[in-house]
Amino acid sequence: MAWQMNSDRPIYSQLYDKILVRIVCGVYKAGNRLPSVRDLAAEASVNPNTMQRAFAELEHSGLIVTQRNSGRVVTEDMTKIETARHQLALTQVQSFIANMRELGYNDQEIMELIKSIVQ
């Protein structure tokens, strides 16, 4: 099944985000090998060059490492993964709060709503 893409952002940055989520969620575990560019491109139904670019960006941010013999692996540096996870969580919460404020909720009401649902 092709991955769903939004129309307004470059494809490579959307691929970046999707692979990042997989790393953070442990689909691709720290120190483990990643699928090849070609395989992942086929899975996502995207151009291999675009997938390559997403990998290059992930490499740039240190989340994946290219090893001479075993291809690309997820970094073993857990703090890096943890930071990325925290960053993703922050973005989620920020966009949630922005949406709630748009609906006219004040911060107090938002907190109460969250509490009632989490329980």
Binding site: A2, M5, S7, D8, R9, P10, I11, Y12, R38, A41, A42, A44, S45, V46, N47, P48, N49, T50, R53
Partner: protein, 279 residues
Amino acid sequence: MNDNNSMAYAQSDTAQNESAQSSPVQNNSIYAQSSPVQDSPSYTNMPLLQLNDLCKRYPGMGSYMSVFHMNLIIPRGRIIGLLGPNGCGKTTLIKMINGLLTPTSGSVLINGMAPCPATKKVISYLPERTYLDNGMKVSQMVSYFADFYEDFSTEKAYGMLGALGISSDARLKTLSKGTKEKVQLILVMSRQADLFILDEPIAGVDPAARDYILRTIITNYNPGSTILLSTHLISDIENILDDVIFMKNGSLMLYTSVDSIRSQMGKSVDTYFREVYAC
């Protein structure tokens, strides 16, 4: 110097349209020395496809140019969408690259050579309409292609036929329009060409098979070859494209990467197309 030369024979070309064939041949002999055909690595530093000031005027169309001064260099290793509204010159351009039409002026160079038997060897072309013999069986078609093209992989063809559930014993005339199109695309994609030119490859094919075909294009893709495909179904193929070429009234409007349209315009190529060509 060079410019003068091409100008000179461009003019003579327009003067005598029928014998226009002489120009590619002439051209070929010029370049043949510097770039031997196939199997020689020396041609790889030539651009895969180069259009120089290419024009095409059909007889009876007055002064209207179906392709108007196109200049373009297409490198290896890209998947490129050739996009534009109906009648903007996409198929005319494709036919000139394949040597089926002779340019009114300007030139087409493939690996540095004008269209000729040697360039047909390195181009795998899917025309806009089918040319297969309706009376033949699919298996006969496969062996016909295998016979015709050195770079044809029978194994690959049967692999794809199997995956799409097309019986190799069926005669082409018994197949639906969409299935025929699939067969033809499979034959074209089973070659190991330098340049694949696909004119409307997915138009008549159902969405599930479309996905399969796009996946096939991606997995068969090799960094040394380029795929040039024309289509109106932009949103379906946008994710597999590196670059897009927009044509309008026979002219090149835009040649850029998909990601640069998305990052600069903040919209998909599909949306952008609808705005640019809004009626």
